[in-house]
């Protein structure tokens, strides 16, 4: 995939990634957010953060399984959208749910394990977003950049734990996300051990 095809694919994925946000906009004008719209928006943004993190993490496994190496060209955008939704999720919590009640927010982050984990995961995503540019990648060097960006595994795990510790009783949803994450990370581990010379596939130039 080169040139125009890539541009169009990127444009399509870009629009697709905005759909969850547009949906919230539409629902807001049609009483679709329900009786507790703030909680609805907060939870929806959190869910989509997690979904996009998992989609980003599935780029490498899907690429290996299908041989569609140009998928790598979409990974940065997907990751940045995950960060975008994480930002909206956090800002909704700070600015709308708690209405900038910093005293409560700080206490929440310190005292509530699920918020501590969620906040830490959000912080972990910041250096990844900052170093997502080509220039930063060059400045850090491929190896170091890659090592840094493995933090996304920790952030995704933190996101799942954040969800798991929040629910009252019905663990179905967070467990599904957790299993998907285990699968995506497990595939990486399996390949790592199965392959005597690591890095060959990863550094292969796009076909």
């Amino acid at each position: 995939m080169r040139g125009t095809a890539l541009t169009w694919t990127k444009a399509g994925v870009f629009v697709l990634c905005l759909v969850p946000l547009l949906r919230l906009g539409v629902l807001a004008f049609t009483w679709g957010l329900g009786a507790n719209p703030i909680a609805f928006v907060l939870h929806s943004l959190g869910t989509w953060t997690l979904v996009l993190l998992l989609v980003t993490l599935s780029v490498t496994p899907v690429r290996r399984l299908t041989g569609w190496n140009s998928l790598i060209r979409l990974r940065r955008m997907l990751g940045l959208f995950a960060f975008f939704y994480a930002c909206l999720h956090f800002l909704t919590y700070v600015g709308i749910d708690q209405f900038f009640d910093w005293h409560t927010i700080v206490a929440d982050i310190a005292k509530r394990p699920y918020i501590t984990v969620g906040f830490a995961s959000f912080l972990l995503l910041i250096p990844l977003a900052v170093t997502s540019t080509n220039a930063m990648q060059r400045r850090l060097g491929g190896k170091r950049w890659q090592r840094l960006h493995r933090l996304v595994y920790v952030a995704a795990a933190g996101g799942v734990v954040h969800y798991l510790w929040l629910v009252k009783k019905d663990m179905t949803q967070p467990v599904i996300y957790g299993l998907l994450l285990v699968l995506l990370l497990g595939m990486r581990l399996a390949w790592r051990f199965a392959r005597p010379a690591p890095g060959v596939m990863v550094n292969r130039p796009p076909a």
């Binding site: 329900g34 009786a35 709308i96 749910d97 929440d108 510790w165 009783k169």
Partner: protein, 321 residues
Amino acid sequence: MLIRRPPDIRPSEITAKDLYLDRRRFLEAAAGIAVGTAALGAALVGTRRADGAPVARTAFPNLRHSPYSTSETPNSYRDITTYNNFYEFGTDKEDPSQNAGTLVTHPWAVRIDGDVKRPQTVDVSTLMRWSPPEERIYRLRCVEAWSMVIPWVGLPLAAIIKHAEPTSRAKYVEFTTLMDPKQMPGERTGLLAWPYVEGLRMDEAMNPLTILAVGLYGDVLPNQDGAPIRLVVPWKYGFKSIKSIVRIRFTETQPINTWNRAASNEYGFYANVNPAVDHPRWSQATERRLGEFRRRPTLLFNGYGDQVASMYRGMDLRKYF
């Protein structure tokens, strides 16, 4: 008993215009339905529907107002009937409104037994005779830190208990929800130990604030809100107010309520609303009143301290949370 006037209305308590209009539309519609049903009822006096239910559906003529009602503006009918927890019909807030159609509330029998002089099974109309319905506009505070104001139609529980004639051994009242996975699909899951059970200490059950609700906004209770009869204990977190009750048992020992059984470190027996005692995973200091933008501070005993605080004098509310 001294019945205090609630404090004067604050600007933050004035209902937004769209909510107000929403409510007015509802009331207009309800009035239309009421007139229509009354006419129909008059034409069919003495008849019964195919399911055996009496025809009189808007069933609370001359509803008495109560000094225990708050003057705060109730939430819209739509809020109250589309956003609540009733795990028997699913764990999302909208699930009960979508799934509770399978619940059959006529006929309905309530078993009264345990430490009573004479165990018996009664229907809801008998309970309404024992304790005539009143309008009770109460605040409801969920343990999940959201709240509403709900205009219930309720039967004061104290009068029902007097009719049931508990013996001197009775120290607690235990309530049980219907157990029927066909009608309540959530009971097929292993989420909670079904059927749902709740309990009150005898003095709590006898408190004049405690009611068995049979109606909402002057009409019969919708299935998703716990039809045909549910407990309402406004100074306790919502999970205490058990829905679709089929059994009232008087007992000497403290009942084990369902959420306490599920997670005893998170949900106690008393479950009194208390901003100073946090849920282990979240703060209880503030709440979001549905329909309001800003959180508001949560009040001790949900603002019903004047009526209930004396029952807990000397008790460590952190220990008995």
